[in-house]
Structures are given as C-alpha cells and as structure tokens.
Symmetry: C2
C-alpha cells in the first residue's frame, strides 16, 4: 500500500478519536486539514485499511457503517436512542469465542461456523439524562 498524504491523515484522524465516526464524519474532520479531499477517497481508504487490519469496520445493518481506529478486538455498545458507539470493557465471552462451548440444540444445517458479530445495546448517559428530564 502506497502511503499517500490522504491515507496518512485519514488514519491519523481516526486514531486520534474515540468516537467511532462514520465515513462522512471523518471526511469532515480530514477536510479541515486537506480541504480538497473527496468523500470517495475517504471511503476507498477506510475500506482498504480495514481489509489490511489497520482499523475496524463496524457494520450493523440499518445504520451507517462506523470505523474504529483501534484494530484490536473488543466489544462495542450502541446507544439505541442516538446511535453512538462506545467501547465496552468486558472480558472475552468464552461461550462464543471457544466454539466447543456452544451448546447445540439441533444441527448446524451444514454450516461451518467461522465467527460472530456481537454488539451490545444500551442507553448512553446523555440520552438517559434527556429521558429523565422528560418525565
């Protein structure tokens, strides 16, 4: 992978935030430093960097894809009200990560299991506050 200025700055901005931004949020940040960059470049680079394992793509259907500058596996929690994603500091879940701990209740229909996607859902402190005020 060629290290272009755009690539460097996209990665830098993503690494410098804990907010798991969407492609267009990151585009806006990067644009402050590279005013002529295009959104397509941001998409193309995030895609490539995710493939190479430099960053993580957080895909949950129905919402915009978000990106995480931390390439190490960890769990996320999504606020059901505002959609924000945060890291969740929980220990690996044995029942998922060691496939032999999965308790079957039938057969797997011929599938070979290769992994899983897990995200927690919750209410973030800000939305919780808003809810309490409404009462």
């Amino acid at each position: 992978m060629r290290m272009t200025n755009q690539r460097e700055i996209i990665l830098e901005e993503l690494r410098n935030t804990t907010s798991h931004p969407t492609a267009d949020e990151l585009y806006l940040r990067v644009k402050e430093r590279l005013p002529r960059i295009s959104l397509a470049t941001v998409y193309r680079n995030l895609e490539k960097m995710a493939e190479l394992g430099l960053i993580q793509k957080i895909k949950t259907s129905g919402y915009q894809t978000r990106f995480d500058g931390n390439p190490n596996f960890h769990y996320h929690i999504r606020c059901i009200y505002c959609g924000k994603i945060d890291d969740l500091p929980i220990r690996p879940i044995k029942a998922l990560e060691d496939p032999e701990h999965i308790e079957l209740d039938g057969d797997l229909g011929g599938y070979k299991v290769v992994g899983f996607n897990l995200e927690f859902l919750g209410i973030c402190p800000e939305c919780m506050k808003t809810l309490n005020n409404k009462k």
Copy 2:
C-alpha cells in the same frame, strides 16, 4: 392495526418461508398474489409488524435488512459468501442473557445495557461446495 388485504398477505408470505427475505424479495413474492401492491407498502407494513412484535427485523452486519416471520427469539447465522441467513439452533448463551454473568474489565461508561445483537458467521453448504470445486 387495521387488517388490510396487503397486510394479511405480506404476513402470510413471510410466515410461509424460512428464507429470511429482504423487503424487495418479499415484495416480489407478494406481487404474485397482489400484482398492484407497491414496495413502499411492503416496507411500511414490515416496519409496523416488527414494532408490534409480529415479526423480527434482522439488522446485523451491514447488509440489507432481512425479516423473519418467526417472532420468537433465536440466533441466526449468515453465510459470509452469499449473505444468506439461516436459523441456528443453539441454546441461549448465559453469559449474554443474564447480564450479571458479564465479566467487566472496567466500567460501562455510564451506559445502561438493555440488550445485544448477535449473529454468527459461517459458510453455508452450497458455498462450501463451490469452494471445494474450485480447488
């Protein structure tokens, strides 16, 4: 909720398949019986029926939303090659479903956890066959 003909047939077709169709796949099926139905009606009704708990909306993993005529909680597996979703007959995972079993490694950042999304990833029998033929 008013029981219109469209609503009845959409629900019927969804209940009669195990294929977890997308809105447009279901639209095509329903169209055979109601040629003048519109895709918007299918979307509106699926949305409403999911809210009421008559069906499930499967939003995980950055692909098109799929729908499940079975309203009871169960796990799904998605084929990483063809995107197909099937039911996975595994027992409830204690470490997820009883929040007190979650082993924290820090604090939750003020979130109130209300649930989770989990899908397994795998290779379906058909795609497995294709892979083997290519070797």
